[in-house]
């Protein structure tokens, strides 16, 4: 199963921002993604979780070479995507697809479902016969749970959940190997979220896709991911197996993110402890020195303010970027968490 398809090495994306007036402007650098590394295997699902401004969407775009990274490499099947010329990169895009957050905004309102799903086919196979396209489009519609006889309808005639199914069909029509889903269910109602998560899970298994599933909280990715990566201010805080991360997280931020998810059970919810986090997320323009999380961390010690913790491999094979990963017991549900400094 060790069939690595994607390798990300020390990836960084900077945005230059101009501040101030016409004459006295200065340029500020926003490090949206900063030193992110991970591997992804064929048929594996990686969940990427973080709050707004953590760089998860920028990371998604950099992985697909939709944004040029400032540092580091993205290797797809051993090839550096950013070293390819435009034509070679365009060919690679057949393998790499994305599903966006807002299903309605991601679909052209003037095109029928047929044209939306068929567009990638026309782009990559301009000579393909119309009958063949129709057959393929109907097949895709059936696969994602739409009625093939609605092929001539427009996006506004569908509900948000159905529009997301159209977006998924469009992403899968070329038989890609990797699909990045950027918050695909955040804009959907609860009852529809579960439908889409289950659909993606089924398709992933059926088509042996590699999937990167981005979300803003840990609950949504739990049911679909093999591994989960937690990001904060452009950096990886933790990268761990699903079986471990929800039981014993190795980073205080992960543990806070787990505790922050409200449980739909009145007794448990009332007994729930606070996340222990203080304050708000700092501006990504001025990330704190040392560990970027130290300003909100309940376990922060002097070292955390001075030294940047590297992402380290732990005994069990998971990764954590916390100086105190070994000494802290962050097991969920135990109150052994009181070993504060």
């Amino acid at each position: 199963m060790n069939d690595r398809v994607l390798r990300v090495q020390d990836l960084g994306v900077d945005f230059k921002l101009r501040e101030g007036g016409l004459l006295r402007h200065r340029t500020e650098i926003l490090r949206a993604v900063n030193g992110v590394s991970f591997d992804l295997n064929a048929g594996e699902t990686l969940g990427i979780v973080g709050e707004s401004g953590c760089g998860k969407s920028t990371l998604a775009r950099a992985l697909l070479a939709l944004i040029k990274p400032s540092r580091g490499r993205v290797l797809w099947l051993g090839e550096d995507l950013n070293k390819l010329d435009d034509e070679a990169l365009r060919k690679k895009r057949e393998d790499l697809q994305i599903v966006f957050q807002d299903p309605l905004a991601a679909l052209n309102p003037r095109l029928t479902v047929r044209d939306i799903i068929a567009e990638p086919l026309w782009t990559f196979f301009p000579k393909i016969a119309r009958v063949q396209v129709d057959e393929r489009v109907r097949g895709m519609m059936k696969m994602v749970g739409l009625l093939p006889n609605q092929i001539n309808r427009y996006p506004h005639e569908f509900s948000a959940g159905q529009c997301q199914r159209i977006g998924i069909a469009r992403a899968l029509v070329l038989n890609p190997k990797l699909v990045i889903c950027d918050e695909p269910v955040s804009a959907l109602d609860v009852s529809i979220q579960a439908q889409i998560i289950n659909l993606l899970k089924d398709l992933q298994k059926k088509l042996n896709l590699s999937l990167i599933f981005i979300a803003h909280d840990l609950s949504v990715v739990k049911h679909i991911s093999d591994r989960v990566m937690v990001m904060y201010l452009g950096k990886t805080m933790e990268l761990a197996d699903r079986a471990n991360i929800y039981k014993r997280p190795l980073h205080p931020y992960t543990s806070a993110m787990i505790k922050a998810v409200p449980v739909p059970d009145p007794k448990l919810a009332r007994a729930a402890s606070d996340t222990g986090l203080t304050g708000d997320m700092p501006s990504p323009l001025e990330p704190p020195p040392g560990c970027v999380f130290h300003s909100r961390c309940p376990y922060s010690v002097e070292r955390c303010e001075l030294e940047v913790p590297p992402l380290r491999r732990m005994e069990n094979g998971d990764w954590s970027a916390c100086h105190r990963a070994e000494e802290l017991d962050l097991t969920i549900g135990s109150e052994a968490q009181a070993n504060k400094p």
């Binding site: 709050e51 707004s52 509900s159 959940g161 159905q162 109602d189 609860v190 009852s191 529809i192 979220q193 579960a194 439908q195 998560i197 289950n198 803003h216 909280d217 840990l218 609950s219 949504v220 739990k222 049911h223 699903r242 079986a243 929800y246 806070a256 993110m257 787990i258 505790k259 922050a260 998810v261 409200p262 449980v263 739909p264 059970d265 009145p266 007794k267 448990l268 919810a269 009332r270 729930a272 606070d274 996340t275 986090l277 304050g279 708000d280 997320m281 969920i332």
Partner: protein
């Protein structure tokens, strides 16, 4: 045993909108009440009518909207009031917190000015007094350095801080009823917890009744006493949070609870989705409105099920569990 008189009693509330495609029934014969100091959740998905219920109560319906029924606040019918009459209640006795903290603050005015205005207008207090009250509220919602915040503009704050300011503004005049419409939906999870904890703390201190409008069953569980589940403009279930979460009677409530991804359950457990699509308010099925998505629908569901009430006041609109 005499129950305390309800603070707000909504009776047979109907809200409709005229649209080019026809009349949309957003809220249909809704009945509920809330006692002083109680927290009631209106839970439902988009289009269930939860927000329009609040808008109708506060007289904030859009131009093409119309309503029928009664909303008795301390015995006075809010729906019959003229705007000047309503203004005596809005902001002072009934306050509202909206979903998006960015668009509900005036970007041109300093936070302090916006807050002082509220107190001076509603309570006729002098400026210095109003200022003291505003700073006190900012401190209560744990805004660091409230004096400084007072001089700042909304854009200088993060989403979480802005929502704290909104909570502080909502509670400025110590209202008897606070309506919070998805107060945490636009916030990150770690900030959402902070705001929920804050609201539950403030509520204990001030005895304010809260109507919490949300789609998030998790938030409701920790904060509310009672919950009303809405679907396509109707109440389908209503009871204490314990009744509704531990013994849901309506298949829609059961479906909602099953489709929430939960961290306290094993990770390989599958999510159970509700089949079908959200209801189209222009073309609702006859009878039970959940019928075409309901896994347990049967012949009788072609007729509209009445609200059933158990002995311990757990209400639900479904033929299943009908003693007959």
């Amino acid at each position: 045993m005499d129950a305390p008189a309800p603070l707000l009693e909504v009776k047979d509330l109907d809200v409709g909108f005229d649209t080019p495609e026809g009349e949309v029934h957003a809220v249909n014969r809704l009945n509920f009440s809330i006692k002083p100091g109680e927290t009631l959740a209106l839970v439902g998905e988009s289009g269930s009518g939860k927000t329009q219920t609040a808008m109708a109560i506060l007289g904030l319906l859009a131009e093409n909207g119309h309503m029928r029924g009664q909303a008795l606040f301390k015995g006075q019918d809010l729906l019959k009031m003229t705007t000047p009459e309503l203004n005596r209640y809005r902001g002072s006795e009934i306050a509202m917190i909206f979903q998006d903290p960015m668009t509900s603050l005036n970007p041109y005015l300093r936070i302090g000015k916006q807050m002082v205005e509220v107190v001076m207008h509603h309570q006729g207090r002098a400026k210095a007094e109003a200022r003291a009250r505003a700073v006190e509220m900012l401190r209560a919602v744990r805004i660091p350095d409230p004096e400084r915040c007072f001089r700042q503009y909304p854009h200088e704050f993060s989403g979480g801080m802005r929502q704290r300011v909104m909570v502080a503004m909502g509670l400025l005049c110590a209202p008897d009823l606070l309506i919070a419409d998805e107060p945490t939906a636009a916030l990150d999870v770690t900030v959402q917890v902070q705001i929920t904890h804050l609201m539950s703390e403030l509520r204990k201190r001030s005895n304010t009744a809260i109507i919490l409008i949300t789609h998030d069953l998790g938030v409701v569980a920790g904060l509310c006493d009672r919950v009303m589940v809405m679907y396509a403009g109707e109440a389908v279930e209503c009871g204490s949070v314990e009744q509704v979460y531990y013994d849901p009677k309506h298949p829609y409530t059961q479906g909602l609870l099953n489709s929430v991804p939960r961290l306290d359950r094993p990770e390989d457990m599958d999510l159970v989705a509700i089949a079908g699509n959200p209801p189209n308010l222009l073309a609702l099925p006859e009878g039970c409105k959940f019928r075409d998505r309901c896994p347990r629908a049967f012949e009788a569901c072609r007729e509209k099920p009445p609200m059933q009430l158990t002995e311990d006041r757990h209400a639900y609109r479904c033929f299943l569990g009908d003693p007959k």
